[in-house]
């Protein structure tokens, strides 16, 4: 098992290095224009958001609508750290992520006792509360937007964040902790009676999810150069959730693909930009009709029957 896992790890590492090398080469040689390379950074940020939400919504099975809230906490804290404390980029990112995780803990403690619709509404409310706070604080410069942080996010840092996020979440899901988290989604009572401290694991998955949302926020802050509260509204949370649902709940690869597709699709349909949200709705409904569960395993099923089980077990 150890050998197999190391082999898998090495293969993944080589694949990501090759992808990174190819993309960097194309960017440096002008094959990919700077316009598209900026969109690729957005795609990376969205992958971090989608995979981290997948831990809370896909694997843990808690439908939360506050992911943009955690992202905004990470974004503002990281930006403020960069502006006022002059911390290096990576330190700002980590500070932002840790604060987002702490907020996740504070929000999670009372709300994770709720289930289903209630949790959804509470996290949605939390998202709005954060947005309104950011809008009214002096230090965040309200609706005029926070500026002045260095534009440190480049493709390399975004790509590394993606790799680290996927790696960490993959490792968690593979471990005994991950099995505990998945078992909660499957049947919470049975999980508790199999000896799993369910509340602890719910909090844990939620906090880790918030942590990576914070990382994504920090990346976004140092990529965009300006932070306005309205970009972290309810629509953003839904957008991330759409990526997760589209890619398949509890499916990391699916989240990655869906995040990329959902980033590039609106760009390709720039001329219809007003209808972007409409497009999301159409895609989401279409996906539900095509396959009531999720798209990725369905495609995979065609290639191999066996892998479907492993995918879920992952």
């Amino acid at each position: 098992m150890k050998k197999q896992q190391i082999k898998q790890f090495m293969i993944s590492l080589i694949i990501s290095l090759v992808i990174y090398g190819a993309l960097m080469f194309s960017m440096n040689n002008g094959i990919i224009s700077s316009y598209w390379s900026r969109i690729m950074i957005t795609a990376c940020i969205n992958i971090v958001l989608a995979t981290s939400l997948n831990l809370a919504s896909g694997y843990l099975g808690q439908l939360t609508l506050g992911h943009a809230g955690f992202m905004s906490v990470g974004a503002y804290i990281a930006a403020l750290a960069s502006i006022h404390l002059q911390t290096p980029f990576i330190i700002s990112l980590i500070i932002g992520a840790i604060v987002a995780a702490v907020i996740g803990l504070i929000i999670g403690m009372p709300t994770l006792r709720l289930k289903g619709d209630y949790l959804c509404i509470i996290t949605l409310a939390f998202n709005e509360i954060i947005r309104v706070i950011m809008l009214n604080l002096k230090i965040t410069n309200g609706a005029r937007g926070l500026i002045g942080m260095p534009m440190s996010t480049d493709f390399t840092s975004a790509f590394i964040s993606v790799v680290v996020t996927i790696y960490v979440i993959y490792c968690i899901v593979k471990s005994r902790h991950g099995r505990a988290i998945i078992s909660i989604k499957e049947d919470e009572t049975a999980s508790e009676l199999a000896g799993i401290p369910t509340f602890y694991y719910k909090i844990m998955a939620f906090v880790i999810s918030a942590f990576f949302a914070g990382i994504a926020g920090g990346l976004y802050a140092h990529y965009n150069g300006i932070l306005v509260p309205v970009s972290f509204d309810y629509n953003k949370s839904v957008e991330i959730l759409v990526m997760v649902v589209l890619g398949g709940l509890g499916n990391l690869k699916g989240s990655v693909v869906a995040a990329i597709v959902m980033t590039f699709l609106p760009e390709l349909l720039r001329s219809f930009s007003d209808y972007r949200m409409l497009l999301y709705a159409v895609v989401l409904i279409a996906t539900m009709i095509i396959k009531e569960k999720n798209l990725m395993p369905h495609i995979k099923e065609k290639f191999s029957k066996k892998e479907v089980v492993e995918e879920v077990a992952e």
């Binding site: 005994r176 009676l193 199999a194 879920v312």
Partner: protein
């Protein structure tokens, strides 16, 4: 000293006393049955013993410790495991992962080693894998280890649920209607399995069952529950000849 002792146990849902004054004792390595007409409160008793419901009166001591204030997962860790009347497996997980969830506490590597892939993590995972496979072997489920749990035939799902319960290394196993929905062949096979489990793991078992042949055949003592109270307690022979029990099942002569 009794392994598990329930004294004056009761629970009230609104005005309904689902269980009232339930007294019960089970020793180590004993096999007891819990029977009673439909709606007598058998499953409620299980829910009380495992902490799913908090009793409104009475006391439960397990292994010398009072457990009524504990959470279900703490009670499981202490050594009471159970199965459910309507099978509750982790349906989308593989068979072996179902057992591995039960083995959660057999290893204690924390989150960081799992992320950093330390030797401790690999040792832990290997130990879990080995234990899970050996448990599956006991129930002849080894060949299905990597099949999705919901794809198992019904009888095997029942067995898997018992395997998962045993994975928590319990001292007392509560089986809620293990033979429900099984044909006579499967029931006979299940009886053998229960006997085997008891010998191999030397644990106490309390089972709810409507199949009288099974109950009378393997249980040392039987508790009869009616309207939430203990109606009778004794050996199968005593229970069979107890007029009150017969009345509870078949009604009085008048």
């Amino acid at each position: 000293m009794a392994l598990l002792k329930a004294e004056g146990l009761g629970i009230q849902f609104g005005g309904l006393k689902a269980v009232d004054e339930f007294n019960f004792e089970i020793e180590k390595n004993q096999l007891y049955g819990l029977i009673g007409p439909n709606g007598a409160g058998k499953t409620t008793v299980f829910n009380l013993l495992t902490g799913v419901y908090k009793p409104t009166s009475g006391q439960i001591t397990f292994d010398g410790k009072p457990i009524i204030k504990m959470k279900p997962n703490q009670i499981t860790e202490l050594g009471i495991a159970r199965t459910f009347q309507n099978i509750r497996l982790f349906k989308n997980m593989s068979v072996i992962d179902n057992v591995k969830v039960g083995l959660h506490h057999s290893q204690n590597y924390s989150l960081l080693p799992a992320i950093l892939n330390t030797p401790g993590y690999f040792q832990g995972e290997e130990a879990i894998e080995e234990k899970a496979l050996s448990l599956l072997r006991v129930f002849d489920l080894e060949e299905f280890a990597y099949v999705k749990a919901s794809n198992l035939p019904y009888g095997k799902q029942r067995k898997l649920e018992i395997a998962r319960a045993l994975a928590t290394s319990p001292k007392l196993l509560l089986l809620d209607e293990p033979a429900a929905g099984m044909n006579p062949t499967e029931t006979a096979e299940l009886m053998e399995t229960i006997k085997l489990v008891r010998e191999k793991f030397s644990i106490a078992i309390l089972l709810i069952e409507h199949d009288m042949k099974l109950v009378m055949g393997i249980c040392e003592k039987i508790v009869v529950l009616n309207f939430g109270t203990t109606l009778a307690f004794g050996t199968p022979e005593e229970i069979r000849n107890n007029p009150e029990v017969v009345a509870a099942y078949l009604g009085n002569e008048e």
